[in-house]
Symmetry: C3
Subunit: 222 residues, 3 copies
């Protein structure tokens, strides 16, 4: 029992760490100073869970009460600050760890929403939000359209993993089993998407529609 909980905590902190790395790398790329890098590390690593906790009414969020989350975020930020070139060269391992983090966050996020009594569909969506929220906030702070809304099945993989956990809960399976299955699905989807450049379809713009895109940005309902 203790072993399982320890594994879960380690995975959670591992997810925070790799997400924090992604925030720190993005901050370095925009030439933020060392404190800006640390802020982006913390935001990318923790704002998915923080947003989920605020939405389900679990204030103060775990990321503020358990100091380990801050610690691994700061460590990730400092490593990136002092060894940016090295971290940047580790692109493939980081992508791998990032997918592991996404899988864990989606699964754990869905489970926490279930425990707080949210409906199955909402629990799956909050699992997805836990996975993608940190990256979304990171990109909003950098004044960019969130990559997680556009990249290689990122949000889809999180949603799929979270849905398995919810489904398992409805079927009465143990959390351990459904978490494993959900995490594996999320991980698998994400890898296949990166490998084969899978993408979700975008809407079809007719010839007129395409001509109207710029116009509509100005004249649409605000």
């Amino acid at each position: 029992m203790i072993a399982v909980e320890t594994i879960i905590h380690v995975l959670d902190l591992g997810g925070t760490f790799v997400f924090a790395l992604s925030g720190a790398v993005a901050a370095v790329n925009r030439r933020l100073d060392v404190l800006g890098i640390l802020v982006l590390s913390f935001v990318a690593g923790n704002f998915g869970g923080i947003t989920r906790d605020l939405l389900i009414g679990a204030a103060p969020p775990a990321a503020l009460t358990d100091g380990h989350y801050l610690l691994v975020s700061v460590v990730a930020g400092l490593i990136t600050f002092f060894a940016y070139a090295g971290v940047d060269r580790l692109r493939s391992p980081v992508l791998l760890l990032d997918a592991v983090g996404l899988a864990f966050f989606a699964v754990a996020g869905a489970q926490k929403a279930i425990e707080f009594g949210l409906s199955p569909v909402m629990s799956a969506l909050l699992g997805m939000l836990t996975g993608i929220g940190g990256g979304m906030t990171r990109d909003v702070l950098l004044a960019e359209i969130p990559q997680v809304l556009r990249a290689d099945l990122y949000a889809v993989a999180a949603l799929a993993g979270a849905s398995i956990v919810v489904l398992g809960d409805r079927l009465g399976l143990s959390y351990g089993m459904s978490a494993l299955a959900g995490g594996a699905l999320c991980l698998g989807l994400r890898f296949m998407a990166i490998q084969h450049r899978w993408r979700l379809p975008v809407a079809h713009l007719s010839a007129q529609g395409r001509a109207g895109v710029d116009r509509s940005a100005d004249e649409g309902p605000p």
Copy 2:
């Protein structure tokens, strides 16, 4: 009684639907994929109310506990995805529905804040926030300055409608009456503003002031 509550719920969902359409159209215009479109639909349709609920301490927000809000948001997103050209051609009807949605959100948002014991002035402002918050979050996610802060009396109309509800509450009028009056005022203001291109004044920049605009963006207090 049941009839009134049903009408209110239908109007609320109708407002969510048209706001979700605006989010989906904006997402298509930025070439997000289908899941990005659905996320923007949900955000535009529901984040005004979600932000209000978080601020007044009503967690979890209604948009997360009542599945209808998610449903109409997803439907709006899918309709836009599969029939973007059609939705885009319906610009005028959507603008009309958008104004109806704004009116309803502003009125209902103010009433909920009153019920949670906030002061009259704050209740009116939270009504305005309920009306404009979804559009603001949508534009922030798309890395743009929110249109609702610049367009044709949009926020003003919401604030006026919400203020009528608050005033009616202070005068002891029934919610039904003041909601109707507030909604009509919001709707009327918005239509007149669109029709006659009414705008609020912007600040006067002196010759030196204007020259200083770019400079101040860099050197002002951060």
Copy 3:
């Protein structure tokens, strides 16, 4: 005793006022209309405290229940609207007041977090957030990377001031004393940074690393 509380409240409102001025000036520079200016005033003056209150579970936030905060924000916005050139010419006094506001917010924010039972490290960080949160939200709404993450030790000064309060609390000093010391440190750091253009270091990009910056924006983990 009453005198101390009055002073604190006046300082708090003073900080709100100067932060609101910064929001209004930024809104005028982007040509927002008068309501957009007022929204930015309120956001810049109050969102640091509002975010802190939501995170520590103190809903509804003080900025929504005490009308004075709204009042001074609106006054700051209107002054800027009617006398932009004048406010813009007062750049140095506003920078001074802004530093005073930052010092007060950081100190008061840390103290409130301590009272709500957060850990010392988190209390110091929430003090920093109280100081920089308003400016961050202001810049996010204007679709820019927050200046507070890049400018002259801004966040560092806030963090230093908040840390002194936390340290004082651990050592059993009176809040008045540690608040004075923390505020003075924040103020002093900020002035030295402005005067001598002190900046925190940015990460070293190797030759390859620098070449990879644009690439990584596209290909990094989302």
